[in-house]
């Protein structure tokens, strides 16, 4: 039994090592005295100093985070409500049609999405910049949210809802006290996936941006011709560290408070 347990841990460790290997590689090179990611040239902080002096890059970084967070919150909201709607669609044909439509943005290559959004925005005279980028990011993040939330809703089944409505819950109560708590893990995954899509996107953002607004991805890709300098590595490393601290911190605070609450409830009863 204990032996088996160790094997399982080994597998997970391996997966994590592979997942983090490229990131560690990037971070290690952010300390290299050279200018590119070839051959480590000795330790230096200079790329970090360059980074903090580069207010343009920092502004781009803040804008990128802003777009990512804002678009993810909105996409998760719209996507979750959409998934609830799809779940209420009982005719299989309608359901499959909606799901197919939902997935179109996932199958279409970014260039196609970017080009058609660009035509769409210019046709509607929507100025290119923050607004158009935000709208596009919301748009291409919605399908993944739906895909993450929908299975959770389906698992819930109807009996739980029937029981709740039999007990006299109204729509809002049903949503806020029964459905949302139940599908919370799905919403959470959807939000994180939306964040991922937004942070990673290059092609769509490139096409729909303008008037001085840029995201980190666009900047990184367009720097490739000149060779990406290690300042970008330093920025990515810092961003990753920040995310790591936030995620782990948030998780344990959450754990602590819920345990605390559970304990308090236990005492009361």
């Amino acid at each position: 039994m204990t032996r088996k347990f160790k094997w399982r841990h080994l597998y997970l460790w391996l997966v994590f090592i592979v997942l983090y290997a490229p990131i560690i590689f990037l971070v290690v090179y952010s300390f290299s005295a050279g200018t590119t990611m070839n051959n480590f040239h000795g330790f230096t902080w200079s790329h970090y100093q360059d980074l903090f002096a580069d207010s343009r890059l920092i502004a781009i970084f803040l804008d990128t985070l802003l777009i990512a967070l804002l678009s993810s919150v909105l996409a998760t909201t719209i996507g979750t409500l959409g998934a609830l709607g799809i779940n209420n669609t009982t005719r299989p044909v309608a359901r499959n049609t909606i799901l197919s439509l939902n997935n179109i943005l996932m199958v279409s290559p970014d260039v196609i999405i970017g080009a058609s959004f660009l035509i769409f925005f210019t046709a509607l005279k929507i100025p290119l910049g923050f607004g158009s980028v935000l709208l596009s990011h919301i748009a291409f993040s919605i399908p993944i949210v739906v895909l993450m939330v929908l299975p959770k809703i389906q698992e819930m089944g109807t009996s739980l809802l029937d029981a709740a409505s039999d007990l006299g819950a109204n729509n809002w109560q049903l949503l806020s006290q029964v459905i949302v708590p139940y599908i919370m893990p799905g919403i959470f995954s959807g939000f994180f996936m939306a964040l991922t899509y937004s942070l990673d996107d290059f092609a769509v953002t490139f096409f729909v941006t303008g008037n001085g607004f840029t995201t980190l991805s666009v900047e990184i890709y367009s720097r490739a011709r000149q060779g990406i300098n290690l300042e970008i590595n330093a920025l990515s490393g810092l961003m990753f560290l920040l995310a790591l601290i936030l995620v782990i911190g948030y998780y344990f605070i959450n754990q602590y408070s819920s345990r605390h609450r559970a304990a308090a409830r236990g005492r009361r009863s």
Binding site: L12, M106, V107, P109, A139, I220, Y221
Partner: protein
């Protein structure tokens, strides 16, 4: 009756989503279909479709894309299923799950460059191979490295839905199966896997479909030894500016996706409530 009323009221939640579908899905798709009927000089034609379905280059590319997307999906599934399953048994599964997603927040191009460094002839991977006595190998530009890196990118998108399904798994089913004398394999294939199938399906949809149109990695890691439809679309939109032909391939991809959806999505337990009430 009461239920029906509730359903109609619920459609209010559906409005933003519907709006999204109309504005950002249906409108672009109509635009795409419209464009696919024009040649490079802006004349109306069916020639793009004719070219696609008669040219050996495009048909080969299609076969290639499907084949590699299949391999990538398979590799991703084989790595992700045990990961998701084992995650569920750890102490802080939600935390580990977040840690699996987080590498996707680093820019893809940077990660690809890191892989180039790792897989190069003097890279860590080859040093390891030398260390265990296999000796350095050409790793870059091989099918192995291409599928490996593509799977690497896709793992989080597969782990998440599977994990969601696994975490819902009622342990009493597993215990019951064991108590009834099933072997671990029987328990897995008869009980666990079927119960987590919806998650697997969602994962496959999230991985297979985008893998059809990969283009960056085919060049960065595959050295253009693998040419997929994504490569051709990229080229038609950005180099030759033949948006008509690019759109045609896009339309073909969308139709392929719809077919896959209908094949895998025909959920059996759905119709029960609507038809009975």
């Amino acid at each position: 009756m009461q239920r029906k009323q509730k359903l109609t009221r619920n459609t209010a939640y559906f409005v933003p989503y519907t709006l999204w579908i109309v504005l950002f899905v249906i409108a672009p798709v109509i635009l795409l279909i419209y464009q696919s009927f024009f040649n490079i000089d802006g004349q109306f034609t069916l020639g793009n479709y004719q070219t696609y379905f008669t040219s050996s280059t495009y048909l080969m590319m299609t076969v290639n894309s499907v084949w590699y997307a299949f391999l990538i999906t398979l590799a991703t599934l084989l790595i992700s299923y045990p990961t998701a399953y084992l995650l569920n048994e750890t102490k802080h599964p939600q935390l580990w799950l977040l840690l699996i997603i987080m590498p996707t927040w680093i820019n893809l191009l940077l990660k690809a460059y890191a892989f180039i460094g790792i897989f190069s002839q003097v890279g860590i991977a080859n040093q390891f191979l030398s260390f265990i006595g296999i000796g350095p190998k050409q790793l870059l530009f091989t099918n192995f490295s291409f599928i490996f890196v593509a799977a690497y990118i896709q793992i989080p998108f597969m782990v998440l839905p599977i994990y969601n399904a696994v975490s819902e798994l009622n342990p009493s089913y597993v215990n019951a199966s064991r108590d009834l004398g099933a072997t671990p394999w029987q328990t897995f294939s008869r009980v666990i896997f079927p119960l987590t199938l919806p998650g697997v399906k969602a994962g496959i949809q999230a991985v297979f479909i985008p893998s059809l149109s990969l283009f960056m990695l085919t060049r960065l890691i595959g050295g253009n030894k693998v040419i997929t439809l994504g490569t051709a679309i990229e080229e038609h939109f950005l180099t030759t500016m033949n948006w008509g032909m690019g759109s045609t391939i896009g339309v073909v991809l969308i139709i392929a996706m719809v077919i896959i959806m209908w094949l895998t999505g025909g959920s059996k337990r759905r119709p029960r409530k609507g038809l009975t009430k």
